[in-house]
Structure formats: C-alpha cells, structure tokens
C-alpha cells in the first residue's frame, strides 16, 4: 500500500546550518508500513514541480512518526528547510524496495558516504533488533561537515573517514575498507555517491552486498521509467520500484 497523506511537522532543525537538517513528521499510515531503505516523495512547495525522493531516516511505529535527514542542494531541499513546526507536508510513501533485514550468522557492515548515510540508520536499528552485531563506516569530507555520528554510535561500532583527514582515517571509505578483514561479516549494505558504490561493488566477492542507488525520478511510483539503472543482464530496472536497494551483483556502473 502506498499513501499520499499530509503529515504534520513535529520538528525541523539544522544539524549543520544551511547544510544538513533533520525533520520529524507525524504520519501514522506511512510510519506503520515503512521498511528500512524505503523512501518518500515529498512535495516541497509549488516550485520545484516534481516531488523529491528522500529516504526514511528513522521510524517510530508506536508514535506514528517518521524522520528524514536531508542535505540542502537546490530549491526543493531549501523549501524543506523553511517548513515550520505544525505545518502540513505532502508525502507519498512508503516507496520502493528496501534492505533485507534478518538474523545473519556473522556481523553486518553498513557503509555510508555523505547524505547516503540517511537510509542506513533505520536499517541499523532494525538489524540490531533482529539480533545482529553491526559495524559502521561513514565517510564525510571533513570534521565540520560530518553529522549524525552519534546516532550510528548507538547501533554499533563506528569508523569514520574524512577526505581532509580532520576526523578518523584520511580519505574516502575506501581508505578504511582496503585491507579490511571481511571474514567476520557476511552481509554488507551501502549507500552513497556513485564513485563510492562503484568501489564497494568491487568487494562483492568478499561480502554479500546490498546497494541503495540514486536516480533522477519523475514519479517515484514506477510509472514514468525515468529512474532506471542498468543491470548485469543488460536490462534496466526502476530505482523507485525494484530499487532503490539492489544486490551489488545485479547492477553495473559502466554507463
């Protein structure tokens, strides 16, 4: 079931002013159905015309609330940042096919780059609930532009990489992952910029991997076929419907 409902904004605060925001929304129906890795299509204002796909960051089914973590990019996300408590927000969701959550025999590895960390938090919570032990690698550009680390610390051991080395290991998440011992893991999940995902895919022989992809979306509903990505078998699949989460082995990035 997909809902188009108005949620009520409970809070909408910058984590880093003009850059990263966290919004909490009361919307029972969507909260009730949401699974890790799913996303919303949000109407942010009269312009932009299109809704904007934003991952579900956290869900509280009991309270009937969902949270989103978002980064200001252009007009749409700017509009989001200007919304005030108690305002209504026009949501469609939950959308897409999320991450696999079950009890695995070994540990789970969560790898997030930049705002790509957003869908991993709810995933981590649910994996933990399912009894898994979790390790998390987060990549940012610098200490000042890092965020939400405190959230991830609650669900497992967190390792950080920053491009400028101002926090954690210097470099991208690749700097943490190279020479990694994958023996104690049997499941990995990643979301982040395409170059990062490309690299992660090279680890697919060591680890059973799920990747959450991005693509430009028209409808978010599977109708317009704009959001496709190439599969290993040469077919295109819809990121909004069959994805955003795919098996690393399914996808190819060579386009």
């Amino acid at each position: 079931m997909i809902y188009k409902n108005y949620g009520i904004i409970l809070s909408n605060e910058p984590i880093i002013e003009k850059f990263i925001y966290l919004m909490k929304i009361k919307e029972k129906d969507i909260a009730n159905l949401a699974k890790p890795g799913q996303f919303l299509e949000i109407k942010t204002g009269s312009i932009p015309l299109l809704r904007k796909p934003i991952s579900i960051f956290e869900v509280d089914k009991a309270a009937g609330t969902i949270s989103i973590l978002y980064q200001i990019k252009g007009q749409g996300t700017k509009n989001l940042a200007e919304l005030k408590i108690n305002q209504k927000i026009d949501l469609i969701g939950p959308l897409g096919h999320g991450f696999t959550v079950e009890k695995f025999s070994k540990r789970c590895l969560l790898i997030g780059g930049g705002i790509g960390i957003a869908p991993l938090y709810d995933l981590g919570l649910k994996l933990k609930e399912a009894g898994n032990e979790i390790e998390i690698i987060l990549g940012f550009s610098s200490r000042e532009t890092s965020y939400a680390i405190d959230y991830f610390s609650k669900i497992g051991n967190v390792k950080i990489a920053t491009i400028d080395g101002s926090l954690g290991v210097k470099g991208t998440v690749e700097a943490v992952l190279k020479d990694y011992d994958f023996n104690t893991f049997n499941k990995g999940y990643a979301c982040g910029p395409e170059p990062m995902l490309k690299y992660i895919k090279t680890l697919e022989d060591n680890l059973d991997l799920e990747l959450s992809l991005e693509a430009y979306m028209g409808c978010g509903l599977g109708a317009c076929l704009s959001c496709v990505c190439k599969m290993a078998d040469g077919e295109y699949k819809r990121v909004c419907k069959e994805g955003p989460v795919f098996q690393a082995k399914e996808v190819i990035f060579d386009e």
Binding site: L49, G218, C219, G222, A223, L225, E235, Y236
Partner: protein, 302 residues
Amino acid sequence: MNKLECILGNFKMKNPVTVASGTFGSGKEFKDFYDLALLGGIMVKGTTPEKKVGNKPQRLVETSGGIINSIGLANGGVDDFIKNILPEARNYGTEIIVNISGSSIDDYGYMAERLSIEGVSALEVNISCPNVKEGGITFGTDPQMAYEVAKMVKKNTSKPIIMKLSPNVSNIAIMAQAVESGGADIISMINTLIGMAIDIEKQKPVINNIIGGYSGPPIKPVALRMVYEVYKAVNIPIIGMGGIMNTNDALEFIMAGASAISVGTGNFVDPYIPINIIKGLEAFLDKKGLTSYTQIIGIAHK
C-alpha cells in the same frame, strides 16, 4: 443524467477525464490512490511491435517549471502487453486506450491488427516518432506520412482511432486535417514540445539523449492555441492535453474546443489531479447551472 458523459463519435467514456500515455504506466502504479474506474479512460504507456529497453539515463529532468523526458519508448512490446498487462488492465472498469508507436507505416498496421482484441477500448496513435525507413523524419511533422499512418491503422482495426498530434510543426491545422482524412475518429493533442537543458557545470546536455520532450505547465499556452486552431479545422472531436494541473486548466481546454482532456505530468505532482478535475468539472457545471459539460466545448470561439 450524467453531466460528464463523454461521447467522442464512436467512442464513449463515463467522463472526459483521462490520463496521458507514458505518465500513468498501465494504471497499476496508481491503484493504491483511488479506484481507477473513476477515470474516463487510461492511455497506457507507449507500446511498440518489439520490446524496447529505452534510452540510457539520465532520462528526465525538471526545468523551467516543467520537465524534459527522453525515455525512449521503453516497453515490453505488444505481445508482452497483450499477455501480461491487458488482462489486468481490462478489469479496471475504465476505458483502456492503447498508445502505439512504430518506426514504419507497416509497424502501425501490425500494431493495429494485433490490438484489435477485447479489452482494448481504442487506439491512440503516437506519431511523434521517427520514420526509420524515410530518413528518420518524424511521422507527426509530415502531413502525408501522418495521413498514411492514420489510413493504415484504420484499415487494420475497427476500434476507435485517436491520432495524437505532435506540436513541433509549422501548421497544426494541416496535420489535423491530414489525419482526419486518413480516417482518424478522434485527435489527441498535444504530445511534448522538443526541448533541451544544459548542465553548465558539466558543459553538456542534462539528458543523455541530448533533446527530449518538454511537458507540464509551461506548455499549456501552446497546447491551448493548437486545440483552438484544430477545433476550427476539423470535424472530429479533440482530447486536449498539455500542462493540465487543475479544473481551471481543464476548462480552458474544453472552452478552446476539447471534448475530453488528459492529465500527464500532473500525475507525478499529485496523483489525485484527475479525480480533482472530475469533481471540479461537476462543481463548475452546478455553479453555472449547466446540464452537460458539452455545453461549453469550444465556447471560446463564440
């Protein structure tokens, strides 16, 4: 009496509100929002003789208040449509209008014949695609080719034929007359304007296919003008579309001469737009004390 009953020559719909091809899948994707039986009809996404994987992404971008798309007619082909999509769609309780495309005149004939089956209410013929045999000229920009497509489709089916006009022409009235004399029962218009956007950081076109179809609110004035011109030029009914987002937009098209309307890009913005328009038209008629929406078709010409 049903104030919105819509009779387009040999084709009837319970109301004049449809959803445009390529923006509504086959309907399935919108089933959670409302009962599809409320719609006048669904123009299902473009179907071709063979399966097409479609264009390399990026396929769509928002620009200038509208969107540009170049999906490349991605679809499973007509056999897949008949086997896997139609059986479900025909039970939606609304008219199923199959949008067909080809790369030769024969393709259109083949499609028309294959789709002359139960469950298909009408055929909408998309001629905004290149005629591969004739050097890639778009069928819809050449009156003679458009005429021949209409004739070929007509020969191969007894279903109502809706010829869908491309707006990228010097003289839309001539195109309309061409398809009318080729045997079109109905005209739908407009397909997308051809447009482009450039990513100034990457210094290249945003859409991988370079150009694409421009749709949404910005194209409405062009669409309205063309509906107005075609209404004067032909005797067959028009299904108007292009940037329709609400009841007022729909009324503009009807007053310009459209006997039915279609919501395209609007479905991405708010899936309830078609339903809101159905309610809105009823409310408008009540307010004006009219007994049928047909009383205002083309009224702007008076």
